[in-house]
Amino acid sequence: MSEHGSKAATANAGHAGDAHAGETRRDFIHIAAASVAAGGVAAVAWPFIQQLGPAADTRAASSAEVDVSKVPEGSEIRVLIGGMPFFVRHRNAVEMAKAVADDKLPMRDPATDESRLVKMQDGAYNPKILVTSGLCTHLGCVPVGPAQGSTGDFGGWYCPCHGSHYDTSGRIRKGPAPKNLAVPKYEYLSASMIKISL
């Protein structure tokens, strides 16, 4: 701080001669000015950080309806919602049986096949249709599936980036991925129509 300033301040304090030794009105001005400046900087910084987030139109486009009856048995379709891939898989009888049979085996991220399904409007599960996120839980690659000709050692999906194998319930069985393929928020609008939300 300036020499001139502190000299004047000292003189003032000397005149006052009160108990607040060393504290001057100039100190008050400095603290007040710095506080206002800090408040101003914060108020300006907020919109400049907030603008980096998803915009209103991006947030609005965060769900999609999918007709699951169009998915061929034993294969899958892939859906993009807001740039995020999702798998909608129509499992055949063998795949469904394998998924349930493996429920009791030790796994890295234990989950029953049923816990990975969502009830239809009539309260029953539809084990034929499995909906999962399309992002490998390791580092976010998109695993290959039946349509790409490779389903890995467990018949579900295989991630080509670092060799994670998922089973027919989308559970991690082998490789570096820590978690099962996530089950997104979705609901049955009718027997054949689902709505997936981010």
Partner: protein, 489 residues
């Protein structure tokens, strides 16, 4: 100007750094201790205000570029998305758009300050020239930025400006084609304008560094124009005296800025630019942004050919000349006295110059064929064809009906005359005003400034800055000064 450095590194790290990169020493010498004349008034705060403007424009511009799409298909929609969907996009765009106006407002005050106090005179010619370069770059940047939203004014404004360049003989047409990258303004134009609009502010920032560097060699001019003679008596350290003074002015300026951003964000813009560009239809009244209006008025003021030079080219020459003339102002002004405080005639002509410049702005905003004021009430005229088949115009009538009215005149004509009555207005056209003010603009620089240095008798100037400040407070008459101009003030 800055004397020997007074910086003493206080600890081991600063000593180590000072021997390798004396950046703290540099900051202390140039921004903290820098000796600044003690009599600077608030007109001297606009340099700091302009630095703030440049930072604001760059920061908000970087954010807008994150969301803007430079394509004729998507540009307009992407700007609408910024206004509606991006969080606080409305705020950031309003700051950027109004920031351009604030930037020019401040730069004009800064330039008028320099012209009034003779800040362009020896030894500060290079500071002034760098300033004019910055001003030119600002105009180029602002122009290209205005094209980006791809509204009606964006498109047709850019068409007019690129066609200006086409008026230059021989090389004009190829330059125009290279500028547009096609037969007309389109995607290639928009993309290169976006690229350059992002680049030029950083070029401006670079030249601002040179501008300040050049300023720190002789130091600030001051309202008396008298050079610093004794650093101890005539100057104060920049901090805290001028950081606080500049800071206060910046806060006041930001209040005005915020008023426009929050309460009148479109007041300085044009409604036509909220309509997406339509290459098939030019808006009925096309004008540039307010800060370019005086030059636009000078361009339109030339409606006459001189010898072999057509009016179109002459207008372009006058417009570019009105800016280019600023480069040679240090040599056009022959007076040895810097500050117009002590130049009684120059001071008055300067006030007229400011009025002419502002007046030219109004001329640029108005239709050149409309009237500043009317000579009298509107009258009537009759257009008709005479018996020889020639088109004729009647005299002016005060009334339609009654004796001596237009109706009576028409009734005397044969039906084959095809008479029609029209309104006849007579008044003082904006065009004429722009011609008068434009002429004054050039006269001021080309005739008055060179001549006044020779014929004007300047008033007594204070012997020193310290003396000029003391004079106000102590009623001791200032020491008599030789009123004759002295070479080295």
């Amino acid at each position: 100007m800055s004397g020997p450095s007074t910086y003493e590194p206080s600890n081991g790290f600063t000593k180590w750094l000072d021997a390798r990169l004396p950046i703290i020493r540099f900051a202390k010498d140039t921004a903290i201790d820098f000796p600044t004349p003690k009599n600077l008034n608030y007109w001297w705060t606009f340099g700091g205000i302009l630095a703030v403007c440049l930072v604001v424009q760059i920061v908000t511009g970087i954010v807008l570029a994150m969301h803007y799409v430079a394509s004729t298909e998507d540009a307009f929609a992407s700007v609408e998305r910024i206004m509606r969907d991006i969080d606080y996009g409305w705020l950031i765009r309003n700051i950027h758009a109004n920031g351009a106006s604030m930037f020019f407002l401040a730069v004009y005050i800064h330039m008028f300050r320099g012209l009034y106090y003779g800040s362009y005179k020896s030894p500060r010619e290079v500071i002034w020239i760098l300033g004019v370069v910055i001003y030119l770059l600002m105009m180029a940047t602002a122009f290209m930025g205005y094209v980006l939203p791809w509204g009606q004014m964006s498109f047709h404004g850019s068409a007019v400006i690129t066609n200006l360049i086409g008026a230059i003989p021989i090389i004009g047409d190829p330059i125009k084609t290279y500028l547009m990258g096609g037969p007309a303004i389109g995607d290639p134009t928009l993309n290169r304008f976006f690229s350059l609009h992002y680049l030029l502010p950083f070029v401006i920032a670079g030249i601002v560094v040179l501008h300040i560097w050049a300023l720190h060699v002789p130091g600030n001019n001051n309202p008396t124009g008298v050079s610093v003679k004794d650093v101890k008596k005539d100057t104060l350290p920049f901090h805290p005296y001028y950081t606080v003074k500049d800071g206060f002015a910046i806060v006041v300026f930001l209040i005005l800025f915020a008023y426009f951003v929050f309460y009148a964000p479109n007041a300085l813009g044009h409604a036509d630019n909220s309509v997406e560009a339509n290459p098939l239809q030019t808006p009925s009244h096309i004008v540039p942004e307010w800060y370019l209006l005086p030059f636009y008025a000078i361009l339109r003021a030339i409606t006459f050919d001189i010898g072999p030079i057509p009016a179109k080219l002459l207008g372009v020459i006058a417009m570019f000349g009105s800016i280019g003339i600023l480069f040679v102002v240090p040599w056009l002004d022959t007076s040895k006295v810097r500050s117009m405080r002590y130049r009684p005639i120059a001071k008055q002509l300067f006030v007229l110059f400011v009025l002419a410049s502002v007046g030219l702005g109004f001329c640029g905003a108005n239709d050149p064929d409309k009237f500043v004021f009317k000579f009298g009430p509107d009258k009537l005229i009759v257009n008709y064809v005479d018996t020889q088949g020639n088109a004729q115009v009647s005299g002016r009538f005060d009334n339609f009906e009654g004796a001596g009215g237009a109706q009576e005149f028409v009734s005397k004509l044969p039906p084959s005359a095809g008479a029609s009555v029209a309104l006849s207005e007579e008044g003082f056209k904006w065009l004429w005003l722009s011609q008068i003010l434009g002429a004054y603009y050039f006269l001021y620089f080309l005739v008055f400034l060179p001549l006044l240095g020779i014929i004007e008798k300047p008033k007594a100037r204070p012997p020193s800055i310290a003396e000029s400040v003391r004079k106000k407070h102590v009623s001791v008459p200032a020491a008599a000064v030789n009123p004759a101009p002295v070479a080295a003030e």
